[in-house]
């Protein structure tokens, strides 16, 4: 179900220089753009749904179905345009004072994706006030709380899923929280057992639990287990951009840059993957490192022109790993930390703190390690050096 989409995506415009000069193409048959999704049936399906909705724009079921499909598509391709299309599908209800619950849940999802965590929680609370049994709202709420570092709240939201959601989902929710708040080993074990027991779960669900397990194992300092989990996830879906990013980070942490280059060579369309690709090229001393870095700089610049700040984590990493601008890196890492507090956010903040010797960032990292009780072998060396410096 989590199809095979991105394939055609990559070939169109890998690393083309931005805004060269307007011109008239040399030939009429020249292909200027390949549409994402290519000939995949999913694209046709979306086209069909969109056409149907344009005939009946006030059909709630049709609109929420299309919005949901666009949101899935956006996640798979790492393409935010679909999020805008999803919002457009919900337009008749978007500005209502009391939108229907399905619209509120989707609006919360869209708001979360642009880092409007507060408004997202407001939407979810409105849904849950009406219907405390809405498991999708509880799960989304747990996610937002986890991202923003509210572990107690996230755990409470996960608990509300009991008997309302599949066992594997409930355990993934609880283990995700426990894994970063002082129960890393137990959380991993429990999720691994449930994963093994629930071989009947959908491949999409299994792919993502495998990814989760991979990340948890890496944080526990069990690289062999981590790699096995990630490879298993890749076997379910080798084109998933989130998974590719996570696996690339795992490889980069172990100085396996050449493998990253091979893995991401054709997948640089997504900024997050281009970032890992450029870092790998640089670490390996491979040709094209400067070009990839320049392309990435152009993309960040384009994002900043539209005043997007959702890329601050990636941008901080770019400044630190590729540009060597430690001051910019720590500034961005701190701005990002004010918004989201996942392990990756802590990772870049700690590295930027170490490189820049910024006392404020160092203090934030130290306080967080103490208060959250996060166990993470992947940042342990950075933390050790940060501690030794102080």
């Amino acid at each position: 179900m989590l199809g095979k989409i991105i394939l055609l995506f990559a070939c169109a415009c890998t690393l083309a220089p931005a805004g060269a000069a307007p011109s008239i193409p040399a030939s009429g048959s020249q292909v200027l753009e390949r549409l994402p999704g290519g000939l995949d049936p999913a694209r046709r399906e979306l086209q069909g749904l969109r056409a149907a909705l344009s005939g009946k724009p006030n059909d709630l079921t049709l609109a929420t179905t299309l919005a949901q499909r666009y949101i899935e598509q956006s996640r798979r391709d790492g393409d935010p345009r679909y999020l805008g299309y999803a919002e457009a599908a919900l337009a008749p209800w978007w500005t209502q004072p009391q939108p229907p619950s399905p619209v509120l849940v989707l609006r919360a999802t869209l708001r979360q994706s642009t880092h409007q965590f507060g408004p997202a929680l407001t939407d979810l609370d409105a849904v849950l006030k009406r219907d405390s049994g809405n498991s999708q709202a509880w799960l989304t709420r747990a996610t937002v709380q986890l991202i923003t570092g509210d572990f107690a709240g996230a755990r409470a939201s996960c608990m509300r899923l009991y008997s309302r959601a599949p066992e594997l989902v409930v355990q993934a929710c609880l283990s995700s929280v426990g894994s970063v708040s002082g129960q890393a080993g137990a959380s991993y074990e429990r999720l691994r057992q449930t994963y093994t027991a629930r071989a009947d779960a959908s491949p999409a669900l299994r792919a993502w639990v495998a990814t989760l397990l991979g990340e948890m194992a890496a944080r526990l300092g069990r690289p062999d287990a981590a790699e096995a989990h990630m490879r298993e996830a890749l076997a379910f879906d080798a084109a998933d951009s989130y998974l590719l990013g996570a696996y690339a980070d795992f490889l980069l942490d172990r100085d396996r840059a050449p493998e990253v280059i091979k893995l991401l060579k054709d997948k640089t369309q997504a900024d997050a993957l281009l970032l890992r690709y450029a870092i790998a090229l640089k670490n390996a001393g491979a040709p094209g490192a400067a070009q990839a870095s320049a392309e990435l700089a152009a993309r960040f610049e384009a994002a900043m022109r539209r005043r997007d700040s959702v890329h601050q984590r990636e941008q901080a990493r770019f400044e630190l790993a590729l540009r060597g601008d430690t001051a910019a890196a720590v500034r961005l890492a701190k701005l990002n930390w004010a918004v989201q507090k996942e392990p990756a956010d802590l990772h870049i903040l700690a590295q930027a703190a170490l490189a820049s010797k910024d006392p404020e960032a160092t203090a934030i990292v130290r306080n967080w390690l103490g208060s959250s009780k996060i166990e993470d072998a992947t940042i342990a060396p950075t933390i050790a050096r940060l501690g030794a410096k102080a």
Partner: protein, 375 residues
């Protein structure tokens, strides 16, 4: 990180898009306003146009140049219907003059070259932008507006569809200030003008009696003399500056520069061997005419602000006068205080004038003969 995964666990329920992405949809609009004329360029992503007007005629998920070309009219009609320009409240016309293709970080873009006209020269340009907002509410229009050398920018979004941008007023004021500054600067670095003025002013605090210089009695008399000279000089150079800038009069610059040097010599020598005493204001006027041509050539080098000839002319002239006033403000109190002493008459007046004459002779030789005597 795992939060992302967590949400996906509920994939069959609904899921969240990751922030790892290329950017959302933008269009890049550039407008250049000059008086009532508008020129511009509008870059719109082919992907967005596919959603809006449909480009992929054979439905093979690949958009070719032929397919885009076939839809040029539809693209232009779609885009122009979603961009309304008004100059000071009056609607401006806009058309697409050329279709091109360019690349941005997130793919290929149709490039629309725009031409337009407003009923009158524009001071405030109101831009109403509604491209793609119905299809993608996260779309943004990024506008860069240039007018003269100034640039301003704006971002259009569903909650910011209409924005008014100042074109003329602040730019004009800035231009004016720029030219004032140029004028002051030119006086400050233009030693020939300063020395000419100083030569004429040196005797202003004195009066010639029985072949001897004596200090004037009252400040009032001194000020009146200074005022007469400065006014005459100002009137004269403003006159020729204006005529030269408007193209009504012109003299070869070498001749002008030489005559300016000569004027300094004559003014300085007149202090040593007075020929003209009561008519120094007239001398200031006559030679002021020549200095005006000198200012004009400086202004020509600077370039006049497009469509703001009077503004740059007046600004430059005001700058010159301000510079002059500053010289007078320093000179007059000092000279008045020292006017009765021998030092002023001998050292400042006689010695200074001799030095000025000497220096100006070197300038004259340099300029008339095209030599380089001093560096």
């Amino acid at each position: 990180m795992m939060a992302r995964c967590l949400l996906l666990l509920a994939l069959c329920w609904a899921w969240i898009g990751p922030a790892q992405a290329h950017k959302a949809s933008d269009s890049y609009l550039t407008l250049a306003v000059q008086n009532e004329k508008i020129e511009g360029q509008w870059d719109i992503a082919l992907r967005d146009l596919e959603m809006a007007v449909g480009l992929d005629a054979n439905d093979d998920a690949a958009i070719t140049w032929d397919e885009v070309r076939a839809r040029h009219e539809a693209i232009a009609a779609y885009a122009l219907a979603r961009l309304k320009l008004a100059g000071d409240g009056q609607a401006c016309s806009l058309r697409v003059s050329e279709h091109l293709i360019d690349r941005h970080t997130d793919g290929a873009y149709a490039v629309l070259r725009l031409r337009g006209a407003c009923p009158a020269p524009v001071a405030t340009l109101t831009v109403d932008y509604s491209l793609l907002f119905d299809i993608d509410p996260q779309h943004k229009g990024l506008l860069r507006l240039t007018h003269g050398t100034a640039t301003s920018s704006a971002i259009f979004a569903p909650d910011a569809r209409s924005q008014a941008l100042q074109v003329a007023a602040p730019a004009r004021w800035r231009q004016f200030v720029d030219y004032v500054r140029h004028g002051v600067w030119h006086i400050w670095i233009g030693f020939d003008h300063i020395l000419f003025l100083v030569s004429l002013l040196l005797p202003a605090v004195l009066v010639r009696r029985d072949g001897q210089w004596q200090g004037r009695e009252t400040l009032r008399a001194c000020v009146i003399d200074v005022l007469k000279i400065v006014t005459a000089f100002t009137l004269a150079h403003s006159l020729t500056l204006t005529l030269a800038v408007l193209g009504a009069l012109s003299l070869p610059s070498r001749l002008v520069e030489s005559l300016i040097a000569a004027s300094v010599i004559l003014a300085a020598l007149n202090n040593l061997w007075p020929l003209v005493q009561r008519w120094r204001a007239l001398v200031a006027f006559v030679f002021g005419l020549i200095h005006g041509f000198g200012f004009a050539s400086v202004l020509a080098d600077l370039g006049l602000a497009q469509g703001a000839l009077v503004l740059s002319l007046v600004g430059f002239n005001v700058g010159v006068e301000l510079g002059q006033l500053a010289i007078v403000a320093v000179f007059l109190p000092l000279a008045y205080a020292m006017r009765r002493g021998l030092f002023y008459r001998r050292a400042v007046m006689a010695g200074g004038s001799a030095l000025i004459a000497l220096l100006a002779m070197v300038w004259l030789a340099e300029r008339a003969l095209d030599l380089k005597l001093m560096t």
